[in-house]
Symmetry: C2
Subunit: 452 residues, 2 copies
């Protein structure tokens, strides 16, 4: 039933990520090859299960087509500094991914940690500096929020027409140095960086590499100036790509574009729905519901206090039960108010990230639609001798390239989406089970002591 696979490269699991550490040469049983995001759920010989990067393993008795293509093309991709992708034909009974980005053999990642307060202008201005350590160099670099913001601006400029660039966590002016806020911002910057690291084109870009691996202040300043002068930005980014595969017909492009547009718009609506009802529920749990449980708790305890003044015999069992019930309600109030931070938090964070990503698609789709219109009009312009047939051909080819890029991007988006939502749902359900079990055990304990 289950497929066996051999580990090609050792991999160390990141704690809390549901990953599985594996050793080169080890044999694994593959439990779920469709978790997406480049991950496979596997079990080792000791019965431990977890996620393993799919390109770290080799399925027994079969050779992955993707692996072959990556092996063939990865050198090209690196040497030219351009963008490469792999292509598998669509069709047949099973769904195929179509065009995908060429992913590196080792995925870039980084750790954002150790926020430190720094000062400048003789202590007049203070700021927080974060330490970022990429797995490629294992050498930490320091950056302030405004540097992240600078990177965001550069990436938007350069790739905004082609890929959704995740929004930076919100700026916040008041209480900027409160521990809670710094912790939250760090968590979000980590999420932001990890997402960018996962994008093969962004991760490989000069500006992103500069941000992660600059050696000293001088290196950083020179790199910054160079990045700010980069002219391969906006739609020009497509000129650096050459899929070298069948050119797409504008009608085909338009149809694909429409499909992507429909999906991202629908998902955007649904994500906003979930965020809005989630916010409402969060507020109810930490507001009226907590207060109501507290009030119920107080009401039981107050009744118990009055009963205690009756001077009547045989009151103890009842007043103890009432007091214990009251205290249980007060505990429930606290558990209930603390719950959103445990479960809703990650669900909301993930959906907020996706809301940000989805908000980028209308512009990307817009750029595509404009290019489609331009190619459609080209026939008329050729007839009027305003442009030559070669110009028209270049426009169509550019459009085809854009469409392949969007396809690869959508595949990247879907794969990440499935991975992210799988993770967040597992966490969410775990915490929900935990919540109801905790409360039910509180009651069970109470009920046992009340009846015994």
């Amino acid at each position: 039933m289950f497929v066996q696979a051999q580990v090609l490269y050792s991999f160390t699991a990141e704690p809390g990520n549901n990953e599985l550490s594996v050793q080169e040469g080890e044999t694994l049983t593959l439990l779920n090859q469709s978790v997406g995001g480049g991950w496979i759920e596997a079990q080792n010989s000791r019965g431990q299960t977890g996620l393993v990067p799919e390109d770290y393993i080799q399925v027994r008795g079969q050779c992955s087509i993707d692996d072959d293509e990556w092996d063939d093309e990865s050198d090209d991709g690196k040497s030219t500094g351009g963008y490469t992708w792999s292509q598998s034909e669509e069709g047949g009974g099973t769904m195929q991914r179509g065009t995908v980005w060429l992913y590196p053999q080792t995925q870039l990642d980084c750790v954002v940690a150790d926020p430190k307060k720094g000062t400048k202008m003789y202590g007049l201005k203070s700021y927080i500096e974060y330490q970022i350590t990429p797995n490629s160099t294992n050498r930490p670099v320091n950056h302030r929020y405004k540097h992240f913001d600078w990177l965001y601006e550069r990436l938007m400029e350069k790739f905004g027409c082609a890929f959704p660039i995740p929004c930076l966590p919100d700026k916040q002016v008041t209480g900027r140095f409160e521990d809670e806020f710094i912790k939250m911002r760090m968590e979000r910057l980590q999420g932001w960086m990890s997402r960018l690291c996962r994008h093969p084109v962004v991760a490989n870009s000069e500006v992103f590499q500069l941000f992660l691996t600059y050696t000293d202040e001088k290196d950083w300043k020179i790199g910054k100036r160079k990045a700010e002068k980069d002219e391969t930005v906006g739609v020009m980014v497509f000129t650096t790509m050459d899929p070298e595969i069948r050119e797409l017909d504008p009608t085909e492009v338009e149809q694909k574009c429409e499909t992507f547009s429909r999906f991202t718009r629908s998902m955007d609506d649904r994500v906003k729905d979930l965020l809005s009802v989630g916010h409402l529920h969060w507020k109810r749990c930490t507001g009226p519901l907590q207060k109501e449980y507290q009030r119920i708790g107080k009401a039981f305890q107050n009744l118990s206090s009055v009963f205690n003044t009756s001077g009547y015999q045989g009151e103890a069992t009842l007043t103890e039960a009432l007091t214990a019930t009251g205290k249980t309600y007060e505990e429930i109030a606290e558990i209930c108010a603390g719950q959103p931070k445990k479960d809703l938090h990650f669900l909301m964070e993930t959906n907020s990230e996706y809301k940000g990503l989805l908000g980028c698609f209308p512009d990307i789709i817009g750029v595509h639609k404009a290019a489609i219109e331009k190619v459609k009009e080209a026939d008329r312009l050729v007839a009027m001798n305003k442009i030559g047939p070669q110009d028209k051909h270049t426009m169509a080819k550019n459009l085809s390239t854009m469409s392949y890029a969007l396809q690869a991007e959508m595949n990247h988006f879907h794969s990440n989406r499935i991975y992210d939502y799988n993770r967040v749902m597992q966490l969410y359900l775990q915490e929900q089970v935990q919540f109801y079990e905790t409360v039910s055990s509180l009651y069970l304990h109470l009920h046992i002591s009340a009846t015994n």
Copy 2:
């Protein structure tokens, strides 16, 4: 550790009342002698536990003082048609009940059942008739709501100065014949009758006995007319009582009265608190909370639907998890909305009953305070020769009787209160455990299917 007791009379448990059927001669282990309300928690030789009327059993190797007194005086009580009580001295390290009503050996109870629609005036007017079967005759009688109302008026007139007469369930004009309403009214009439049956003075009264045991229409009409002409009503009811024990000093009476007043006022406040927060919680569970869970459920399912349109491989696990989570939320919405009927309902019913009873105490206390003032003024009136010393003595004796009656009534109230609240809290906690366990098992099941 536990006391053994012998069953004096066989007793058949009423289903759903946490009672234990016992056979004459059987030996029981007493688990809790202080549940109150004339009940004892006991275990039989087969390990079954439940409540048994305390006057149905005889504790081994000891003879209850109360039993002796009841045996001595019960004949008197019955022959004179007046009211008798038992008295145990207060003091010592343990709390004593003081004066208590003399309870009959077999407690009266009745079953209200079988509501039937009847018509009169050739079908122009219709009404609901309930069947009431007392355990004393085991012969059913029929009564309409207006007969219950008539009984309530009589009891208020006759005993309203001395005991709290529970309020009748509310009249409701619209939808009077809806099944739900009739069921609810019957349940409340049952509660009302059971409470009156438990009161030894009320249960033994002519008017109450007439209501339960009239033989035919003629008997009922004659009895009704007689009851309406009863002159031993209001404060006159105290003249039928003669405790024949130490006469109480007015200061002592005043002090006891103040204690009772303080307790009933405080309990009234607390009961109203609990009712108000309970109503609020009920509304939240069946209103905003249900809707919110439904909305969360829909949001998850809608997200799942969009994901299903992606055409991307490896989507199934995630969309199944999202759909299942959404459906679980919809189930939680229903469970949450149905929960108040299962747990809050009985808590609210009991507290509503007590709110009604507690509302009677200010009048009862008022009657006592007026009598105290009268006795206090008597010295002045004697000095002024407006009344004779004998009159003053009668007034003081009457006040003493009233005070003993109030003591007995308060003991009756406390004993019933402890019994009622013990029962309702047990039920409440059981249902709460059930609720959280149900939801947690829903989630657990979901979580298992999502991770496997």
